[in-house]
């Protein structure tokens, strides 16, 4: 099966089989293609090439509905239920029993729901609204809904991410029950102990391609991690022209606490690139947003150029010389239906005025300089950014923060290469190193281990809102970082908060 998005190949010729009555674990780093695969199964995306056969019959989904009808259910991290409706109404949504008058047959609905609840040995009141249940119970309801539909395939996307240990035990019992009924269970998780406890087979993906398949009982944690990490760090990184002169301390974070992160300490020097590695949801984005004045800070200190700072908003941060390229370019980085020019000039609008009126010539010059500097592929600076490819959009944001009227001293890049093809990635790596050469301090967040190790001078690893380690590039290995980023067995229960 293959699937491409503009600029990236998300799935490249992936083939595997899953058997009824077995649990198949889907593993790989962030961006390996697991989610894409699940979405194709669920009928959200359509594969460009390849076939999906269920019981030997070729499936051709045209919508999520057709996937459901064919017997596929995907239990996502974000629950997909109607919070105001009761448990039983959610479970039977789309197939509510009716009485002779054509109204919903409540007694029968309740009876059938109770039968399901008892079958799975749960204790949930079928008449309460789903929104009032705990996350764990909501997930159980979702599973019962999938079961009620008679799904042959039930896929789980990181189901334990927000569950407490007792809840996980219940979930696993449920999955065992599904397995006994001969269902195909597909299970996506980053937690090694779970994989070894639950799964029968393991499929490992990397950069959209199938690496290998294991039978769980015949492999080890080390072997699995090595296969997930895969290829060697290539020449791309060796050829980078790096900054060799690191200046004095630029930024110091002391015991920073926000709603999402705890006790964060780190420092950054002028001309230095520090990387932040971790799994999705580790709190890296939240941390840099707090530093940038976009998220609220509970306690702790941010010291910039030797002075304690307290930004009320990104406006203050930008004035001080901070710049942020957000993870979600389209939602947070760009005003899509405006031109390249308009997007480049936003932070310096007050500097290109003549007696309150915007100086269009100065603005156009700013934009064309940015387009030339980063070789943005576009017919002109008046082009709407929505019409550019992902890589070129990213360059527009970089052009914004590094235009000649900006005085950027600290550049924060949150997943700058996400959704960008290999060639453009290499250009961005060199650009990052060039920033460092100019004395800019760079914070580089990435979920791709190879690139953090390849580009950053030092790598901080985060997990569950905390920094769990810091390694220099010379000592960094993907295995080491991955083990710092992933939850150990004894911490699984601690994730519930």
């Amino acid at each position: 099966m293959s699937k491409s998005f503009p600029g990236v190949k998300a799935l490249d010729n992936v083939s595997f089989r899953a058997d009824g009555g077995r649990v198949l674990a889907l593993m790989g780093e962030n961006g390996a293609g697991k989610s894409t695969l699940l979405k194709i199964l669920a009928g959200d995306y359509f594969a460009d090439e390849g076939e999906f056969l269920l019981n030997g019959i070729l499936q051709n989904f045209t919508s999520p509905y057709s996937a459901i009808m064919a017997g596929i259910s995907v239990v996502y991290q974000e629950r997909q239920m109607i919070p105001a409706l009761s448990v039983m109404e959610n479970i039977f949504a789309g197939a509510l029993p009716k009485n002779k008058l054509g109204l919903i047959d409540k007694p029968r609905l309740k009876k059938e729901t109770m039968a399901l609840i008892n079958k799975f040995e749960l204790s949930i009141d079928p008449s309460v609204p789903v929104g009032s249940l705990s996350v764990a119970h909501q997930q159980m309801v979702e599973i019962m809904k999938a079961y009620r539909r008679g799904s042959a395939v039930i896929a789980f996307d990181e189901p334990t991410a927000s569950l407490a240990e007792e809840e996980i035990t219940v979930l696993f019992k449920l999955i065992e029950a599904l397995k006994k009924e001969g269902k195909i269970v597909i299970y996506v998780s980053h937690r090694m102990p779970e994989i070894f406890e639950l799964s029968d087979d393991i499929v490992v993906l990397k950069d959209g391609a199938l690496v290998t398949t294991f039978i769980t009982s015949e492999t080890t944690v080390d072997e699995l991690i090595t296969s997930m990490v895969g290829r060697d760090i290539g020449d791309t990184y060796e050829n980078l022209s790096r900054n060799t002169e690191v200046g004095e301390t630029l930024l110091e974070i002391k015991n920073l606490v926000t709603h999402d992160v705890h006790n964060i300490d780190f420092s950054l020097k002028r001309g230095e690139i520090i990387g932040f590695a971790g799994l999705i949801g580790a709190g890296r984005t939240e941390l840099v947003r707090a530093i940038f004045g976009a998220n609220e800070i509970t306690s702790g200190e941010i010291i910039f150029e030797g002075q304690k700072i307290d930004f009320k908003s990104p406006f203050d941060a930008i004035k001080a010389g901070f710049a942020l390229c957000p993870e979600d370019r389209k939602e947070e980085g760009l005003v899509l239906y405006r031109s390249i020019t308009d997007n480049v000039s936003i932070p310096v609008l007050s500097k290109i005025r003549k007696a309150l009126i915007l100086d269009r010539k100065a603005e156009a010059k700013l934009a064309s300089t940015a387009v030339e500097k980063y070789a943005v592929k576009t017919p002109g600076i008046d082009k709407l950014v929505v019409e550019l490819s992902g890589g070129n959009q990213q360059k527009v944001i970089l052009g914004r923060w590094t235009n000649e009227l900006m005085n950027t001293k600290l550049l924060i890049l949150d997943e700058p290469t996400k959704g960008i093809d290999v060639g453009a990635k290499a250009e961005i790596y060199q650009t990052i190193c060039d920033f460092a050469k100019q004395g800019i301090g760079v914070i580089f967040i990435s979920s791709e281990l190879t690139e953090v190790i390849g580009v950053a001078d030092r790598i901080y690893v985060m997990r569950n809102g905390r920094i769990t380690g810091c390694v220099d590039r010379s000592d960094a290995t993907e295995e080491g970082i991955l083990s710092l980023a992933m939850a150990d067995k004894d911490e699984t229960g601690g994730d519930a908060q």
Binding site: P314, L324, P326, E332, L334, L358
Partner: protein, 318 residues
């Protein structure tokens, strides 16, 4: 700009629409429609709507909507009339009413920005509150205004009785706001925030501040609109400019200010206002009964919304 580009522009389409409306009513009314006095009436009718359209239109460009402007304007006009009756000079009364309008706008902004209410519903509540206060101030009756300066500003006409002074005020404001929108940092920020508030904030704009300024500005302009009407009528009544709010929104949407925010401008809005007031006047000229006029106005708003929807669908699918 080449001819093809002009022919494809929204303004061009609107001008054609305006020409069609004028031609239709001229024929239907046997030319009475084009009498100078009638043209003056059409222009006179644009005054209040223009001021509301400027305020409401800029809010719409920034991605918000204000349904309280009719209520605010009527209350502020009543306040001015009340203050003048109590002996306050016209200038202080007008100033007080403008400030009151801005305060009401700030109240809307607090509801939207601090409490995160939808502007649609929050401003509806403000409208009801303003209407209630208006009734308290007026005790349910109209307040006659004898101040000559106040009545001059709202009602004077020059050049053979053909050009209303208030029209000049509203035109000057339309032009100034138009220039501001297209050529200043503040104007550009309104479009950027309307296009993507999160991204604008992370790029250094202050969407909250902009929202406050726009709501306050709309409130003050509504107060001015209410007072201009009251001056022309030489009385402040309890209906005031309530009905004009609906027309202000229609004109903005008709003139190409998209509901979702981020696009449109004062040029289009100006033509939108003209089309609307020509249309309303024309219906009176050919003796369409009052109630059917209301039905027709509703249909105009629906067709403007449909056009807005179709063009935004085209935009997102492109």
């Amino acid at each position: 700009m080449n001819i093809k580009k002009i022919a494809h522009s929204k303004i061009f389409t609107l001008l054609i629409l305006l020409a069609i409306v004028i031609a239709t009513f001229t024929i239907l009314s046997n030319g009475a429609f084009l009498q100078p006095r009638n043209i003056r009436n059409i222009f006179q009718a644009t005054v209040v709507v223009s001021l509301l359209t400027i305020g409401a239109g800029m809010l719409m460009i920034s991605g918000q909507i204000d349904l309280s402007l009719g209520g605010i304007g009527t209350m502020c006009a009543m306040m001015a009339a009340f203050l003048m009756r109590s002996g306050l000079p016209w200038h202080l009364s007008m100033l007080a009413a403008l400030v009151l309008g801005a305060i009401c706008g700030a109240f809307n902004a607090v509801l939207v920005n601090e409490f995160n209410f939808q502007s649609f519903i929050a401003t509806l509540a403000t409208a009801s509150i303003a209407q209630g206060f208006m009734a308290v101030i007026s005790q349910g009756r109209q307040i006659d205004i004898s101040d000559r300066t106040f009545n001059f500003i709202g009602g004077a006409r020059f050049w053979d009785d053909l050009i209303p002074f208030s029209l000049i005020i509203s035109l000057v404001l339309l032009v100034l706001y138009g220039i501001m929108l297209k050529n200043t940092k503040f104007g550009r920020s309104i479009y950027l925030v309307g296009g993507n508030a999160d991204a604008s904030r992370l790029a250094g704009l202050r969407p909250k501040r902009i929202s406050y300024l726009l709501f306050m500005n709309a409130g003050a302009l509504a107060a001015l609109a209410g007072m201009l009407l009251a001056g022309r009528m030489m009385t402040s009544n309890t209906v005031g400019i309530t009905n004009a709010q609906f027309q202000g929104l229609t004109a903005a949407i008709l003139g190409g200010i998209a509901f979702g925010g981020g696009s449109g401008g004062m040029g289009g809005a100006m033509i939108g206002i003209l089309i609307l007031s020509t249309f309303n006047n024309g219906m009176t000229m050919i003796n369409v009964p009052m109630h059917w006029q209301s039905v027709a106005s509703g249909l105009v708003l629906l067709s403007a919304l449909t056009a807005d929807f179709l063009s935004s669908r085209k935009r997102t699918s492109a």
